[in-house]
């Protein structure tokens, strides 16, 4: 599949709303057949970017090509080949699940059987329930059913799992992986790092309308220089530790601190922690918290912007 044209190609894509620059000239290439993730905090410009690619928002500048086609000339052909789940669409409340899917099926000249799609998204039981009676996760699955029913080549999912419990989230991941396994291309926006790490071959991290990092999740994490993160906090009133002292500990790659909280990145935490304890003991300060975890895209975002992806 490496010879296939990219599924999506954007150049200097830009959009502003009055005095807000929503998207500030971004370039993206999404290879055919892969899952591409757009990550970023609220207001980063993910939805605006995706909707420009979907032909729903007119860009102020730049070019978009989807499946080698462009919106000015090939709008109808393109819509036949893409499936879309917008961030927060409330479909008709008083229609049955099966009626909604059938409605969307009727728009496409080719597509899946409605009952088959009900099985794919596991809504068979809710076939005859009104949309207004569905749970959040069931609604999301219905939205994805509507996106899948036209048998698209490319699927756009804008925060498909926001607000879902872990089990519903995993159900959706299965559906996306199934679609990918048949050669489909997926563009996904999300706040959840573990989702991007699990599903996406490549991710673009966005902030303030710009792409601030681009690569595979593994590459991006590796760019932190080490794949473990050690976080600790000192008791109230403890004198602050110079960053240079921490950076000098064996195996520490990077140091950041925010008041009494410190974050170290390291390849081998089991070497760093004993040395850290010795250093604290020598200075007579007590540690009140200690956490270690595998470095993730969350840590990448933190190290790039100094902010957390999600305010929790």
């Amino acid at each position: 599949m490496s010879s296939a044209p990219p599924a999506i190609r954007c150049r200097s894509l830009a959009k502003r709303y009055k005095d807000v620059i929503a998207v500030d000239g971004i370039d993206l290439d999404v290879p055919s057949g892969e899952c591409f993730g757009l990550l970023g905090p609220n207001g980063a410009g993910k939805t605006t970017t995706v909707e420009m690619i979907e032909g729903l928002v007119a860009p102020d500048g730049g070019e978009v090509e989807v499946l080698g086609l462009c919106w000015e000339r090939d709008a109808i052909a393109l819509r036949e080949r893409m499936g879309v789940a917008l961030q927060e669409t409330r479909l008709a409340e008083r229609l049955k699940v099966v009626e909604v899917i059938r409605l969307f099926r009727s728009f496409y000249s080719e597509g899946h059987d409605v009952e088959e799609i009900l099985d794919v998204v596991e809504l068979g039981e809710k076939r005859d329930a009104w949309v207004e009676k569905l749970s959040g996760g069931q609604r999301q699955r219905l939205a994805i059913a509507c996106a899948l029913v036209g048998n698209p080549d490319i699927l756009f999912l804008d925060e498909p799992t926001t607000g879902l419990d872990p089990q519903s989230r995993r159900q959706l991941w299965d559906v996306i992986e199934q679609f990918k396994s048949r050669g489909g291309t997926v563009v996904l926006t999300t706040h959840y790092m573990e989702e991007a790490e699990r599903l996406c071959e490549h991710v673009a991290v966005m902030d303030h309308g710009k792409v601030i990092a681009l690569g595979s999740p593994r590459e991006l994490i590796a760019s932190l220089g080490a794949d473990h993160v050690i976080e600790f906090a000192l008791g109230d009133g403890a004198p602050s530790l110079p960053e240079s002292v921490l950076a000098a500990l064996p195996g520490v790659e990077a140091v950041r601190h925010d008041g009494p909280r410190y974050t170290l990145t390291a390849a081998e935490p089991h070497c760093v922690i004993p040395a850290l304890m010795v250093e604290l003991e020598r200075r007579g300060v007590a540690m009140t918290e200690l956490l270690t975890h595998q470095a993730s895209l969350e840590d990448l975002f933190l190290s790039l912007t100094g902010r957390h992806l999600r305010d929790t």
């Binding site: 979907e54 729903l56 879309v84 917008l86 009727s106 728009f107 496409y108 000249s109 036209g150």
Partner: protein
């Protein structure tokens, strides 16, 4: 060709069905479309039913000759008269308990308010009764033949007006409100991301309106025929054409009204702004000819006035479609222009 036509009609049918189902599944819609006009017809039909010929209430001021006048009136029949003091008579006239005060004397004095039509009637009837009692002879022999005609009663006038009003409200609300709702929920945006054509979306409002039209007309007219014996003098086909044109006209106006609005509040305000003047001016509850002549050209040009005229033409006068060309053309013009303009200014996001 037939394949591509089917490709066009399939989504249109599904969209129409979806709209139709959504409406049927909302009890409040059913109430406003079916129950409300029937209840209104019932209430107004009862309030303004034709009463038996009314008694005329007259006060005779006390004084010499008052009792004789009272006897004359009571002998004639049809009067409720009594002798009272001048002050009481004055009070009864002012509060509307009597229509006329008779002041006895050498020449009789009738005291009444000439702007009250019941008083003018009382003046004529009382004078007639008293003159005859004193021996006036009629110059010419006359006879009365009493008829109360179906088709000339208030309810016969009212029902076509209510039908027109209902076609207006269901058309405007049915199309306008759901457009804004779909826009607000981003359902419209989602539909646009699919290969659905914009024309299919807009046409589905018109076709869903058509499905609802038949039961809507049948329920109201069926009720009016069964309970009040309201006739349809013209052909059912003509009535169908007029109702269809009216429904289309207001569906177009509903789409236009909702073409830019983003919130339910905004669209409700606009709808009321468009519909309220027609509620009052377009001859729903009383004839629009009561408004001053200077306003008539404007009132005639309103779509609801035209629709009501056409409906009354068919139902009361049994007019043919040809005779109704002017009001029908006015409806068609409003509908066509609204739809065309709505297409141009429609906000799809």
């Amino acid at each position: 060709m037939s394949g591509s036509l089917r490709r066009y009609l399939d989504p249109l049918r599904e969209l129409t069905l979806a709209r139709f189902r959504e409406q049927l599944r909302q009890p409040e819609v059913l109430f406003w479309v079916f129950a409300f006009p029937v209840l209104l017809a019932l209430a107004l039909g009862l309030a303004f039913r034709n009463r038996p010929a009314e008694t005329i209430h007259v006060a005779v001021e006390s004084g010499p000759g008052a009792e004789a006048l009272l006897d004359d009136l009571q002998a004639t029949g049809g009067f409720a008269a009594s002798v009272v003091s001048p002050e009481v008579a004055q009070e009864e006239l002012r509060t509307g308990q009597v229509a006329l005060v008779v002041v006895p004397g050498d020449s009789l004095v009738y005291r009444f308010d000439p702007t009250r039509s019941d008083s003018r009637l009382a003046r004529l009837a009382t004078d007639n009764a008293l003159q005859r009692a004193e021996g006036r002879e009629d110059v010419r022999v006359t006879r009365d033949r009493l008829v109360t005609q179906r088709g000339a009663r208030y309810i016969d006038f009212l029902i076509p007006g209510l039908l027109g009003l209902n076609l207006m409200s269901t058309g405007m609300w049915g199309c306008g409100y759901s457009v804004v709702d779909a826009r607000r929920r981003k359902l419209m945006k989602r539909l646009l991301a699919s290969p659905m054509r914009r024309s299919q979306y807009l046409l589905s409002f018109i076709s869903a309106r058509l499905i609802l039209l038949l039961p809507e007309v049948v329920v109201l007219l069926g009720f009016a025929a069964a309970v009040f014996g309201v006739p349809v003098r013209g052909s059912v086909l003509s009535l169908g054409v007029v109702a269809l044109l009216g429904a289309m006209c207001f569906a177009g106006m509903g789409l236009l009204t909702a073409s830019r609005a983003q919130t339910a509040e905004a669209v409700s305000g606009l709808m009321n702004l468009v519909m309220l003047p027609m509620w009052v001016l377009s001859g729903v509850f009383f004839s629009s000819s009561r408004f001053p002549a200077a306003m008539q050209p404007f009132i005639r040009a309103l779509p609801l006035t035209a629709l009501n005229d056409a409906l009354r033409g068919v139902m009361i006068e049994g007019a043919s479609l040809g005779a109704l060309a002017v009001p029908l053309a006015i409806c068609a013009l409003w509908g066509g222009a609204s739809f065309a303009l709505a297409l141009r200014v429609f906000r799809w996001h």
